[in-house]
Point group: C2
Chain length 421, copies 2
């Protein structure tokens, strides 16, 4: 029995009843002999409601004040959760990010954690209490002000505390059973992944899997924290996200899962002079807009014209500003035209076993070809292959790929049966 | 132009529109060349809603966690107010009680202020910003925990900051125009008091006037802070609560106002042996219940029986526990019986000029007698006379007394006209 960090999201503490249910689970974990640190998000839609309120007051809220406002959300949920636990006879103490020693830089709205010194959390544990910590928030030593960590911040808080306290595991409670081989709404045969490496998880999250935030997985990977993604609505085992550095010698399956993403658009810069430095020039301009570029593809230039096309994908929400920036630089770069396509879908196949298995790309392309799905862009990393297709074919693409790699639940059950598990 | 502390209650910041309206007023005060510190309560019914939420989770919430929960309320209103002010082009910064240096003891729910060191507030003012401070809350240096000051805490926060910052005035904004000579709902002829001493204000507040909390007035009196009670819905001058120690030589009117209170009940301990120490014994028992005793009257003992009756008033909400405590001690004290009467009304006539004017009591008793109102208890202090009557006669009592002492608006207007004001 060791130290366990548990993180509960907003849907797990949406009302008084949910809070009491979560309190019971926490007390059970404590009674089983573990030290327990709980990181909690704001209740249900509280954060959105507070943002609405701020918008009613002014559309140009200052970052410092917005952070002061939003951090009220976790203050409410953590105090209620501590009360609920205490009412079950188990001592509990709630701490703000600042009290729990989550020191950040002073970038309001998206602060980075620079130090974690959970002195009061340790004191609470030493006194036999459960420590409840507000997720999403920190404190800038430089300015003395309250900060927030941005989207997915509570996951990051939990991982950071797990690292600082050398926890056995960081349990991320959510409303699904774990990480799946594909989105079950798209692929009915998708199944829960039992174990996945943080590297694979990172690629899946980057490719659109919503269950964990990239930043939290990165932090977990860098600090060797084992994550356990599981449901707060049942006691099933979820998905373990492990770090092979742990000395864990599990045999990696070739493919962990298939992710898809419909939130991106494709920009093609047509007729770029094929001279050195052009790509650098284009992406310097794009970077200046703070847009998050994902895949980049450059075609071979046509000998006849000495010109080439460069395509890249980016979130649709970044589309307008990037097009404007490029259009403004048209004269300098000397391209012919810009094309913008927001009807694309992206599919990513992720698996650490890919490294040592040839033929994965071929199998992927064949599966899509046989289903009559056209591939528009391809990009690969060491453990991921991504392709862009038409948006309206993406779900079918995910299903055929999921099936082609033997991930469908029925087939898998047979495989497992065969190995006597 | 100096430093002004302004306090806005929950009804003044009930929604986004109200917050914008208050922000405008603050910016006007700042533009007039004043340094401004604003103390703000939680929006509208936020505090009650948070208490409800806590009750849904557990009826036995820990004080520490309840304080953590409730302080979320001011955090929300102060951040929104700071945003609103900034959106008008005036710099503003919000501070929690802890950030503003409001150090308290560690008695959760009713903490006392032990030190005020508003370093960050001064820095904000020096930088030309308006400082917004969360009312009602503080920080215990001993435990490192967040505390709340209890009912009326925001008024106390404002006065404490005004004292620590040596403010020119502490403006208490409310939804009425100031302090009145009597409750205008009871006495239509009641008028706003222009100036009142803090001593008188203290007696009025103790006698049931709701506009200011006793504790804040006490603090203001002890630290020589001038209060200005006024409406946040208009720009009228309100009521100045001054401290004669200021060297202010205003001629005191004989009577400042009439207050009434229907929230009390009367307990009579019948047939108490008339031997030394009996009153001490009875009130030691009463004090052990933490009840707030107000008036106490002991009749002369009847020579024949050697026994006397002792009556006292107390909040109705304390009635049951006091009766039980006395009943339990019946054998020890040796009284005959207990009477409980919750149909009483209390009237208090307050005025510093009473000290040097004979005949005030006689005039009061005569007015009530002529109106056919029976007096059941009488108690006096240096600047106050209180009487208990039947509850159903109290409003009539207030009206005849208000009139008998020339406080009715029409008469007063004549007096003012006569002195050329």
């Amino acid at each position: 029995m060791g130290l366990i960090v548990q993180k509960y999201g907003g849907s797990s503490v949406a009302d008084a009843e949910s809070i009491k249910r979560v309190a019971k689970r926490i007390v059970e974990t404590r009674k089983a002999g573990n030290d327990v640190v709980v990181v909690v998000s704001a209740m249900g839609d509280t954060t959105d409601e507070l943002v609405d309120l701020a918008n009613q007051v002014t559309p140009f809220a200052s970052g410092r004040e917005l952070d002061m406002l939003l951090t009220a959300g976790e203050r409410i949920s953590m105090a209620l959760l501590a009360m609920a636990i205490k009412s079950l006879g188990q001592d509990a103490r709630s701490y703000t990010g600042s009290q729990a020693g989550l020191i950040t830089d002073s970038k309001h709205g998206s602060a980075r954690i620079v130090d974690v010194s959970p002195k009061r959390v340790r004191e609470a544990l030493d006194a036999g209490a459960v420590a409840i910590v507000a997720g999403f928030q920190g404190f800038s030593r430089l300015t003395g002000d309250i900060t927030t960590l941005g989207r997915g911040g509570s996951d990051t808080t939990a991982v950071a505390l797990a690292a600082a306290l050398d926890a056995e595991v960081c349990e991320i409670y959510t409303d699904v059973d774990g990480v799946f081989t594909a989105d079950p709404r798209v692929v009915p045969a998708a199944h829960k992944i039992e174990r996945i490496t943080s590297e694979e998880m990172l690629e899946l999250a980057a490719a659109g899997a919503k269950v964990l935030y990239i930043r939290a997985v990165e932090y977990a990977r860098r600090h060797g924290v084992t994550l356990h993604v599981r449901s707060s609505f049942n006691n099933n085992e979820g998905t373990l996200v492990i770090n092979p550095k742990d000395g864990d010698t599990m045999e990696e399956p070739i493919i962990a899962g298939v992710a898809s993403d419909l939130s991106e658009a494709k920009v093609t810069v047509v007729g770029v002079p094929d001279v050195p430095g052009m790509a650098a020039q284009i992406f310097t301009i794009v970077a200046s807009t703070d847009a998050n570029i994902d895949m980049i593809v450059q075609n071979v230039s046509t000998a006849a014209t000495g010109r080439t096309d460069i395509s890249f994908t980016l979130p649709k929400s970044d589309g307008a500003k990037v097009l404007k920036a490029l259009e403004d630089a048209k004269g300098d770069i000397g391209f012919d035209s810009l094309q913008y396509d927001d009807q694309i879908g992206k599919l990513a196949l992720v698996g650490a076993g890919m490294r040592t298995n040839a033929g994965v790309s071929a199998k992927l392309f064949t599966a899509l070809f046989e289903a009559g799905i056209n591939i528009e862009m391809i990009s690969t990393s060491e453990i991921r292959i991504s392709v862009v297709t038409r948006a309206d074919t993406i779900n079918e693409a995910v299903r055929v790929v999921h099936s082609a790699f033997g991930l469908d639940a029925e087939e898998l059950a047979q495989v497992h049966g065969g190995t006597g598990r």
